[in-house]
């Protein structure tokens, strides 16, 4: 009842979702699929005129509207969790239950990537069902950084250089350990401004010193 009271006291205006849910979701999905199939390569994603409440970014909202629904418990980082407007937007448009434990989530949506909890705290899937792991979506990425990583593995022709920020300090070490436990592990989606990149658990990563 707490949230309901909060909503009643401070009515939140819910901004619209996709204008054309069928085709916009399809176009976004193809961008996400191509990104996952080609790790580290940035894909344009159409965000049309989405104007979600801050700190949720339009690109993050597009991914949410494309993949979330009542079947997918979602975890929000502290910054997003603090915003009633963001929660109302996601609840209204996707119906996804919001969970407080990272391990229970099918998707994690992160606005403040610098303070990301260790990715080992998300669901890693089991040896029998590695698909039950969490997919972590980091929004607000700029695809620029001093430190870059080199990717090899499925989806990568020869090698691929990838860099992005903001990220927590030990992020790449965490991602390397994540890849080592393949087939278990989380998949990562990096959302920038109208473009995305993905890093599935199958990618092998080596850190390039700047």
């Amino acid at each position: 009842m707490d949230t309901l009271t909060a909503v009643n006291q401070e009515p939140v205006q819910i901004t619209p979702g996709f204008q054309d849910p069928v085709h916009e979701a399809q176009a976004c999905f193809r961008a996400i699929m191509n990104a996952t199939a080609r790790p580290g390569i940035r894909q344009k994603i159409s965000i049309s005129d989405l104007a979600p409440p801050a700190p949720l970014t339009p690109t993050g909202a597009a991914i949410a509207l494309t993949l979330f629904d009542y079947d997918t418990p979602i975890w929000l980082d502290k910054t997003l969790m603090a915003s009633e407007a963001v929660k109302a937007f996601l609840r209204f448009h996707t119906g996804a239950p919001i969970v407080s434990e990272p391990v229970e989530a099918a998707f994690a949506l992160v606005a403040d990537a610098t303070h990301l909890v260790p990715i080992a705290s998300f669901n890693q899937g089991s040896a029998e069902y590695p698909d039950r792991s969490t997919t972590v979506i980091l929004t607000g990425q700029n695809f620029k950084a001093k430190q870059s990583v080199t990717l090899t593995g499925p989806g990568v022709k020869d090698t691929e250089r990838f860099e992005t920020s903001p990220l927590p300090p030990v992020f790449w070490d965490q991602v390397i350990s994540n890849a080592k436990q393949f087939p278990r592990g989380v998949d990562l989606i990096f959302a920038g401004d109208g473009e995305i990149a993905a890093l599935p658990r199958s990618s092998r990563i080596s850190i390039q010193e700047a």
């Binding site: 085709h23 199939a37 590695p130 698909d131 990568v156 022709k157 087939p183 599935p200």
Partner: protein, 309 residues
């Protein structure tokens, strides 16, 4: 108003038949499949307006990825004109109103039953397979709980025993289709009942491959440029079928050929299984040894066009 808009206005079907929640569920399974190459992701397969065995898995995958701008090609055993291909192409023409084609190079999404086109696929193309039995270990171990554990533990000894028994009985590995492969050095996968001739094409393919099994409720995938190795032994290396004759109609060598019976007196010829590839070669002026035969000409299409006029 284009066809898509018309269907939309009439309110007959959602775009590409499936409802949006189903598409989202399948899309999430596809993403997991790509992230774990060769692993079979369970999904809530829907009942489709066609019987199991007609490609309900492939259809659901195609319906979930298809967009208005896509150009769809449907293949059944290499051919665009056989029953399965014609009816599934019709299904998507009706429910999605997308452009369809016979030409491999023109298509952005290719749904296939048991063949991979002879022409190399590009990075911007997606190949969707219709899969009857996705579990390569199923005929060796019927229990799902056990096969799941075997995949988890990477315990594929049984599969090697099967291939060894092939050699012990027949002197060579007698598996000619649904030949098991190991994807990215981890999961053993059934490449659907494609002839083993097509296995080398799966390895390091530029296009994304998606596999859908409707009845068995599994989706799996191979991302582009992924190592896919056909299982074999050092002293019995993997080999593909070889044909001693070229295609009877277009003269192509080193392609997969189908046997076609021409009459009741033992007349037969071998022609390209990939009908688009064969037609393109004939249009480019290639002539095979049987092209002059009237019975062969009848099935080659040239005469068929005259008959319809």
């Amino acid at each position: 108003m284009n066809d898509t808009a018309k269907i939309y206005e009439q309110g007959e079907y959602n775009f590409a038949y499936l409802d949006e929640q189903t598409k989202r569920m399948i899309r999430r399974a596809i993403l997991k499949g790509i992230a774990i190459p060769g692993y079979q992701v369970p999904f809530a397969s829907r009942e489709m307006p066609m019987p199991y065995g007609w490609g309900t898995g492939g259809v659901q995958v195609t319906a979930s990825i298809l967009g208005e701008d896509d150009c769809l090609k449907m293949i059944d055993q290499g051919s665009d004109d056989t029953t399965n291909a014609v009816s599934l192409r019709g299904f998507f023409e009706k429910t999605a109103g997308v452009r369809t084609t016979h030409e491999t190079a023109e298509a952005s999404v290719i749904q296939t039953r048991h063949r991979i086109p002879e022409k190399d696929l590009r990075e911007d193309q997606i190949l969707v397979f219709q899969v009857p039995i996705p579990e390569p270990l199923r005929f060796l171990e019927p229990r799902e709980t056990e096969t799941r554990k075997m995949h988890a533990l990477e315990d594929y000894g049984l599969m090697h025993v099967k291939l060894y028994e092939d050699i012990a009985k027949n002197g060579h590995i007698a598996t000619t289709y649904a030949y098991p492969v190991k994807v990215n050095d981890r999961y053993v996968m059934d490449p659907s009942p494609t002839p083993k001739f097509d296995n080398p094409k799966i390895d390091e393919m530029a296009a994304l491959q998606l596999y859908g099994a409707g009845r068995e409720k599994r989706i799996y995938a191979i991302p582009p440029y992924t190592k896919v190795k056909s299982l074999d032994f050092e002293d019995y290396p993997f080999e593909v079928q070889k044909f001693d004759k070229p295609c009877g109609l277009c003269g192509a060598q080193n392609v997969y050929l189908d046997e076609v019976i021409l009459d009741d007196k033992g007349g037969r010829m071998f022609v390209c299984s990939d009908s688009d590839f064969c037609e393109e070669r004939r249009a480019a002026g290639h002539v095979g040894p049987m092209a002059g035969n009237p019975a062969a000409a009848q099935i080659s299409g040239a005469q068929a066009e005259e008959l319809t006029q």
